[in-house]
């Protein structure tokens, strides 16, 4: 009799356990949906604002769904698209060239440092690594760039800053060091020189690592506006993100001036147009990067990135 009761009790417990687990799963999904939406919604706010009618936006304020739909902001931009097209060209050029050159330079260094027979491996590794510990910072760098190298207002100012990221070099070095030595020995027996080994064996085998680091480098270059803030005054060389910043800060300045009464309010670049610019500057790149995000996820899951 009592054993029957315990059985019933156990069965009930199982039922509650199952119910609990369903509730847990449901709340876990609920929480994850909440966090995912938190990541997405702020960006949708920009998109929504860009499609809102200007006066509605001023009167009724920002909202997640345009209360009065209008594509006029985009019309305004496309009527005079020179600035944004130029900025696009600058950003694409620096991203593509910067990423390719920096990947090449970094993997060459990483490969050399990964060779156990390299006589200078230890001292050079220290030379590379030390830069991670002590950083001179922006001031000496600013003076070097403007007073000595004199690259301000040239495309080099945008390309040079991220050429070598030591942390990525260390990751690549670990990757190259793990290549099977028999493979390299075999290539050497077949008469391949070091350059040949690097380009036709080491690089192809390191593709996953190169893809991940390449994506991070591309992001660095694409989202960079600080370099332009310090070194670019020529509006022909504005990269996209910096152009966005300039538009925003000009609007801010004009608002102050128009409040004082110097400028008619109509001359201020409209809020919706600014939001539309942000959409045009981010949208295509976001789609591009999301397409390659598996490399990013892989980079994380390999545990290579902190």
């Amino acid at each position: 009799m009592s054993s029957y009761k315990t059985q019933i009790r156990q069965l009930r417990k199982q039922d509650t356990d199952q119910l609990l687990s369903v509730i847990t799963r449901f709340s876990v999904h609920f929480a994850l949906i909440f966090f995912s939406l938190c990541c997405l919604v702020p960006l949708l706010l920009i998109v929504s604002a860009s499609f809102t009618d200007e006066t509605t936006l001023t009167r009724q304020g920002y909202s997640l769904i345009p209360s009065e739909f209008s594509a006029r902001a985009y019309e305004l931009i496309f009527r005079n698209p020179n600035a944004i097209l130029r900025a696009y060209a600058v950003s694409i050029f620096t991203t593509v060239v910067g990423t390719i050159v920096s990947l090449t330079v970094m993997s060459l260094l990483a490969y050399a440092l990964s060779r156990p027979e390299f006589a200078l491996r230890k001292p050079l590794s220290f030379f590379v690594f030390f830069t991670m510990l002590f950083n001179g910072g922006i001031v000496p760098y600013y003076i070097l760039m403007t007073q000595y190298l004199r690259v301000q207002d040239t495309i080099f100012a945008l390309l040079l800053p991220y050429m070598v990221v030591v942390y990525y070099v260390l990751i690549l070095r670990t990757y190259f060091a793990a290549l099977p030595p028999e493979l390299i020995d075999a290539a050497r027996v077949d008469g391949a020189g070091e350059w040949r080994i690097f380009f036709s064996i080491a690089l192809p085998l390191a593709k996953p690592a190169l893809a991940t680091i390449g994506l991070f480098m591309a992001l660095n270059y694409w989202n960079d506006w600080t370099t332009a803030l310090y070194f670019i005054r020529d509006s022909d060389l504005y990269p996209l993100q910096y152009l966005l910043y300039i538009i925003q800060s000009n609007a801010q300045a004009m608002q102050i001036q128009s409040a004082v009464g110097n400028i008619a309010a109509g001359e201020i670049p409209t809020q919706t147009a600014r939001m539309a610019m942000a959409v045009l500057a981010t949208g295509p790149a976001a789609v591009f990067f999301l397409f390659f995000q598996r490399y990013l996820v892989r980079g994380v899951t390999v545990g290579a990135f902190k």
Partner: protein, 331 residues
């Protein structure tokens, strides 16, 4: 028969088909030639590091001089510690230090807690088809520049027509003038910092959780442990070392703030400096706005040297607690 056409082969059989070795190969042998090639490979990056990382080290000297552009770094007059005396006599330097350290501490602590929490959520439902979509959305902030972040923060916080003030008004409350109320900004910056970092951070912890031996969970399930018990006695203790080490390594960089967050998101609004001015924005202003290069360099040197000591210290801490088979410290 012919095995090789390459130039640097070490295979003696193919000597007949090889081109004559270059002069240094004859002098020093293949080993030297190979080393020379490797050095040549490393050279471009080494030169870059020499110019951009080592030459700039001499730049710390500027902090001890009265810098004049015309006279250059080493021609300017040496003034000893005068710049530092001026720097620390100003309230702004202390304020920037306080803001940098306290805000960073807050970002690190809450960043770790939230990343860990989201990672655990993902881990609980990892087999679900939805997880892929969660991951994609959580990574989205990583693709967005600070400029764009400042755009949506403005759409939320604008005084006249920002979403938050509109909502407050609809609820019958008074809207706030966010861009002139510094007291709210530590909180706003924390939320924005979490927004941009938690998704990516959680994926790191998630990968750590996925590496835990599944046998442990099977054993726990047989013993009748529920999900919460499994988290408390398996997942959490297993992931804790990774969290601790990540936190410690971020503490090492507590003196440097994320310039984009503090410059763009606050719109560099002077009314907010009381709680948002950090060392990086302070140095930026000294360098380009007030153009007091010596002062900027003094602040920079102060930031760099304290940062250096912190890196050394926290790395030493990490080294003393890490497991030997899993080195996580920098050196």
């Amino acid at each position: 028969m012919s095995i090789s056409t390459g130039q640097e082969t070490i295979n003696p059989i193919s000597t007949s088909t090889r081109k004559p070795p270059t002069w240094w190969a004859t002098v020093r042998g293949h080993r030297f030639q190979r080393n020379a090639t490797w050095f040549l490979m490393a050279l471009p990056a080494l030169l870059w590091l020499l110019i951009f990382k080592y030459l700039t080290l001499f730049g710390v000297w500027i902090g001890f001089t009265e810098y004049r552009v015309r006279r250059g770094v080493f021609g300017s007059e040496f003034v000893g510690l005068e710049n530092f005396q001026f720097l620390f006599a100003t309230e702004a330097a202390w304020r920037a230090t306080r803001n940098t350290v306290l805000l960073n501490l807050m970002f690190i602590f809450f960043g770790a807690v939230f990343s860990l929490f989201v990672a655990w959520l993902l881990f609980e439902v990892y087999t679900s088809n939805l997880t892929r979509y969660y991951q994609t959305l959580l990574l989205l902030p990583r693709f967005v520049s600070w400029v764009v972040v400042s755009y949506f923060v403005y759409a939320l916080l604008a005084t006249e027509n920002g979403l938050i003030n509109i909502t407050l008004k609809n609820l019958g409350l008074q809207g706030l003038s966010w861009y002139s109320s510094p007291e709210y900004w530590p909180f706003i910056l924390l939320i924005i910092s979490l927004w941009s970092s938690v998704g990516f951070g959680s994926l790191i912890y998630l990968s750590g959780m996925l590496a835990i031996d599944t046998q442990l969970y099977e054993a726990a399930q047989i013993d009748g442990a529920n999900r919460w018990q499994q988290f408390r006695s398996i997942t959490f203790p297993m992931i804790l070392p990774l969290v601790v080490i990540n936190v410690l390594l971020s503490m090492a960089y507590i003196m440097s703030a994320d310039f984009g967050l503090f410059f763009q998101v606050t719109r560099n609004q002077p009314l907010l400096y009381a709680t948002t001015d950090v060392l990086d924005t302070y140095i930026y202003r000294s360098l380009t706005v007030t153009q007091n290069v010596s002062m900027a360099a003094a602040a920079q040197f102060y930031q760099s040297i304290v940062g250096f000591l912190l890196v050394i210290f926290f790395n030493w801490v990490v080294r003393s607690i890490e497991r030997d088979d899993e080195p996580l410290s920098l050196f």
